[in-house]
């Protein structure tokens, strides 16, 4: 298979004399690594040459560089079905540059390490009280958590290529969190705050919206389903939009604010200042209040937090809880239908708290979609449960670092 590329404008010129040999080699290294990463089964040097239009000698030389950098590994030679000269198979190496994912959310903090192959090597989550954490204290808490995870990765012999931080709000290009309504934070320079932590001082760092990163993680679990809306249900609600295998970010990376889709223009007051936003009907605390449960810290479905109580009570048929979930599902279905009418994607993936609550949420969301989405008569969008749930954002953060390595391996050579 040739390289997949989507261009929205005029393609680049054909050059007979490359202007810059080094940039051409970087570019070709990325092509070769992309062939290995994108293949369903091990590929040979000849496969890479064929798929990219390089000479066999160029492909072999690039593969040597990638082998030396620990980015690819070579399986034992096997003789083909027709006999003849045995080809060795190349795959991504789990010992290559690894990635650190970080997350600060309203009621928890998380860190994880992914190997270059995408294998989740370490993950830690710490629940916390929103009230107990200003940005400086939160960054310090994250620094301590990250120190443990980084030490564990180093003990496994992994070298970190960089880190990415997921936060629940609007982030600008410089890593400043402009607004996180559910934390009451504004204009917090997380890029600077996080790099001040000793365990993180020397790492390349990016900061992005948690819903965007969660969608990246979901895309990696099912790359064949390339057009979807990934809904991250937490205390706030965000969405990541993926179209034809690429994240739709909008102009500033501020797309997908599903939590602020209007349900009733004069409904309850929202943390953003407006009225009747989806979060006030289907956010975690809105559901807990309607269910007669105390909004409290703790989003782990397996723990003893608020979400676990909700799942438990729904499971035993508590009527007030079921009514609260029904009300939330209608609102979520209306908002998701609006998003589908605007965005035209194939699937809806329910993540965050909606993953454990899926059985009580999904049927009504599907019903609203059938009723409200104009195109649902021809190509009805499907609704499915996120495989990663609340882990999606932190895993997606690490995924975004791996994307950087795969996109420009030359920048990560030892």
């Amino acid at each position: 298979m040739g390289p997949v590329w989507h261009c929205q404008g005029v393609p680049p010129p054909v050059r007979t004399q490359p202007a810059d040999q080094r940039s051409v080699r970087s570019h070709n290294l990325a092509l070769a690594l992309g062939e290995v990463a994108g293949a369903a089964s091990p590929v040979s040097r000849a496969d890479i040459a064929t798929a990219t239009g390089m000479t066999r000698a160029t492909a072999s030389s690039l593969v040597e560089t990638l082998l030396a950098a620990g980015m690819v590994t070579e399986l034992a030679p096997r003789t083909g079905p027709q006999g003849g000269r045995p080809a060795t198979g190349l795959t991504l190496s789990g010992d290559g540059p690894a990635a650190l994912g970080l997350e600060i959310n309203v009621d928890y903090i998380a860190a994880c390490v992914l190997r270059l192959t995408g294998t989740l090597q370490h993950r830690e989550t710490v629940e916390r009280d929103k009230a107990g954490g200003d940005p400086i204290a939160s960054a310090a808490m994250l620094g301590r958590l990250a120190a443990r995870v980084v030490a564990a990765a180093e003990a496994d012999g992994l070298r970190l290529a960089g880190a990415a931080l997921a936060v629940p709000g609007l982030v600008d290009g410089g890593g400043v969190l402009r607004l996180a309504p559910n934390l009451g934070w504004r204009d917090v320079d997380f890029h600077e705050l996080v790099q001040r932590q000793p365990a993180l001082a020397d790492l390349l760092l990016t900061v992005d919206n948690e819903a965007n990163l969660a969608a990246l993680a979901e895309l990696a679990t099912a790359p064949q389903d390339g057009s979807f809306l990934h809904v991250s249900g937490e205390i706030g609600i965000g969405a990541g939009i993926v179209v034809d295998g690429a994240l739709y970010r909008g102009r500033h990376g501020w797309s997908g604010e599903l939590g602020h889709v209007s349900i009733h223009p004069s409904g309850p007051k929202c943390s953003c200042g407006a009225r009747g936003c989806l979060e006030q009907y289907a956010g975690q605390n809105a559901i807990l209040r309607a269910a007669g449960l105390q909004p409290a810290r703790g989003t782990s479905a397996g723990g003893d937090g608020a979400l676990a109580r909700l799942v438990h009570e729904a499971g035993r048929g508590n009527t007030q809880v079921l009514n609260a979930l029904a009300r939330a599902s209608v609102a979520l279905g209306v908002a998701v239908s609006t998003a589908l009418n605007l965005l035209d994607v194939d699937h809806v993936v329910l993540g965050g708290i909606y993953a454990p609550l899926f059985p009580w949420i999904a049927p009504e969301v599907e019903r609203q979609i059938r009723r409200r989405v104009l195109f649902s008569q021809w190509d009805p969008p499907t609704v499915r449960r996120s495989a990663l749930g609340a882990d999606a954002a932190v895993v997606g953060a690490a995924r975004s670092v791996l994307q950087g390595v795969l996109g420009d391996p030359g920048a990560y050579l030892p």
Copy 2:
């Protein structure tokens, strides 16, 4: 300036030996024509060579082909400010392949011709009664209108490169109108119906959603404002989404169904079958009903149709009309804010009936945006009036044909 290209994936391989000389020449013809079309002032052969990385000889040979095809024209040589050898300036030629735009909307039919330079050469609109037109009769009516416009273009010595038809509904890849709720039409093969018209039988034809095409027309009028939502207000309401200079179409081209954004989930019944959609608050007939005016044919603000009456009554301060417009503006503002929270674009362009109604609609839309769009505090989206109004879709249809010529001029050589 080099060619602008936006890639979302791995870029194409560098080839030292082009696999197919003909495709390379087509590609380079498009690059050369793109340099001429994209420049703010006339460019020389040397400018083209510099910008694209071609040799001067290649650029000159491509320019000769484009001159012979009538796609570019050469201005009289002028000596540069430093004296020396005079350079000739190249611009797009108005005598090159022209484009036919067609539109079937709920209450009118339109056709236009654009020269390759984008100049509007002919335009005709015929109002019609929705009740009087099934798809076959509508296509026949369009065929007669198109015959007049095509004859006028031929009398001017123009050669048509192709035609595009704008329709108010969901169109599939084969030119079948899947659903037009406000016409009650389903599964109408407009590609086949239109090509059955004698005046149109020999023309390349594409069929697309009117709101998508209207956004293309708007983009051409202000290419520097590359990220916006263009709202086409008619009896139905559609939107075209442009991000970084490219139309966001979604998976099937069905994005931007702003008219079916939910305003009140249990509001009035919509033509689509759902309840509380924006069209029931801010569509032309909804406004007319609330204003106590008879929904009637006629969307031309200068004519004596329903819209003209609305504009006239608003202008003289008719309270019921002003209240109807105020109610419509709140709903439109809520829906547009939802779209901005999901899409993250910089501007909102109010088109169709909202262009003549702009003074009574825009202030409330702006107020809702300030209140409801999360990012409006840092980079507040602006609201402006469409320059083209009700002509946008038919002009955009012709624009889409010109895009095809500019994207692959080799396919349109005489």
